[in-house]
Amino acid sequence: MNKFTLHTGIAAPMDRANIDTDMIIPKQFLKSIKRSGFGKNLFDELRYLDEGLPDQECTGRPLNEEFVLNQPRYQGSSVLLARENFGCGSSREHAPWALDDYGFRSVIAPSYAEIFYNNCFKNGLLPIVLTEEQVDQLFTEVAATEGYQLTIDLERQVVVTPSGEEMAFEIDGFRKHCLMNGLDDIGLTLQHADDIKAYEANRRKQAPWLFDAIK
């Protein structure tokens, strides 16, 4: 999992409440044997004018030019600005996978659906909660300035606007620790790599036939 400490990137405004996970990544893409490559189908139904099919090459598909992520000024964006209850609906982990694969590192919204919120942390994506007023203000500023960038300082728990204004956010201490160190379940276990290695060395002595036999 990617570490998250300090990130600066272009903000893209999705001015819509209750964006559900089916909108984020429609169900026809869940059959995949992969968990990467969902970025090209992120927001598929909003982003393209035709119907998206699994395993389809997306480069030639007709784009919905109106859609925010298709506008030239938001190319390369990595911070998604959204309205309340973001990520509601099905529990699919493909939603954070798709956002991450597209290139988003953080979402900023007034509230989230719980499962989506939890799934973000497992995948190195930082969901930030700000007040409705703060989110409103950010929407206004983004619209006014092309190339508008936000800086997210997880250590200090602040979102910094281009004018230097800081907006503080809350985050659970353990989750912050995991994100800052790039720790998912596997990462957490690997923190005990020395214990595992010590056990393994001993095991090799006790049961050498279990080592280097299968090749």
Binding site: K31, I33, S36, T189, H192, A207, I214
Partner: protein, 473 residues
Amino acid sequence: MAGKTLYDKLFESHLVRTNDDGSSLIYIDRQVLHEVTSPQAFEGLRIAGRQPWRIDANIATPDHNVPTTERSGGVDQIVDPVSKIQVKTLDANCDEFGILEFKMNDQNQGIVHVMAPEQGAVLPGCTAVCGDSHTATLGALGALAHGIGTSEVEHVLATQCLITKKMKNMLVKVDGKLGLGVTPKDVILHIIGVIGTAGGTGYAIEFGGQVFRDMSMEGRMTVSNMAIEAGARVGLVAVDQNTIDYFEGRPFAPKGEQWDAAVDAWKDLVSDADAVFDEVVEIDGAAIEPQVTWGTSPEMVVGVSAQVPNPDNETDQVKIDGINRALEYMGLSADQNITDIQLDRVFIGSCTNSRIEDLRDAAKVVEGRKVAGNIIQALVVPGSGLVKEQAEKEGLDKIFIEAGLEWRQPGCSMCLAMNPDKLGNGEHCASTSNRNFEGRQGFGGRTHLVSPAMAAAAAVTGHFIDVRELIEQ
């Protein structure tokens, strides 16, 4: 201090550390991989830029999706695109990471739980995992084996450890001597009938008593395979001379001095005489008769001489509803004789019953007989290429073909119907597999779980019959 159970010993000898939240990190000696539950795990590794912790702890083979008909054309010949992609992906992942894989047309390929012990890839005293719930099979070897999910497959690949919680101990003791025609499958079906599909939840079940001591390794695997059907993620049988003899000379088993050291270590893989189990169930082996499931859960099982249950004899409303629902799905009526159930297909195979002994049992029954006219299809699917080869050496394939059964290539086949082997809507099947859930063997399919001998008997008579009537003649 009380002695230790076999499970306690295996768990403690693999404990790496206890986490702050009370869960434990245990070291995993072996991971067996197949095509259905591994692709996202490998993908996860790649995304995170991680390498497998230990390549030589892994072994792989495709089984769930492979066709069991002629397949010399290789993977490209697989018709279903999703199946083809899964098998190809396993091949590519194993090649990329250098993991030993027995590919589809390798002589050693087979159902994971048949291949792993047969190769000596999983040994007594090991911890073993596989992304498949029937990994409990391997407990028959005196190994601690867990079925796990895809995220855990990735976790074990990356860390060689599993996060788990210690289970409680249950002893299922079956003493006495099994009657003629009564097989390990009948024993485990009967046990599930007694303790129920949730009876073992939270426990590691050790199968003990005279019946298991007398039982072959193949038979023990059949029993432990279905521990999960009694709710237990782990089944176990103590190591004895049978176990040791079984492993001698297997490809990945220790040789020479290491063999002697291993045998020494394995001798301790039994529960101490003064070990205390949280729960003990005792069953009289001599009283077990050939079993047949009539419903849609493995606990819905009776002896072949019995009748389909009548909900009017029950008082518990949940049970009454369950029986009614199952009767409707299965198209059976209360009090109907089990021997009056007419069958459409027969499936002899799956990780429960596709080993050489199973095939011998079935062949003995069909030899010199013909598949009944009402049977649309009777499949025999060996559990691995090696089982197939051995069976052919013994001429079992000819006996089956002569009798009108189909002799197939190894794989999971009609156990879960991920490949083209399926039941039609409403069809009744005498199956040696392990799950009779609604739709498991095909949409609307009606599965009756039985032993290989009973399935063979059903094939030649067209309905269920006490196999003892055929072998005693």
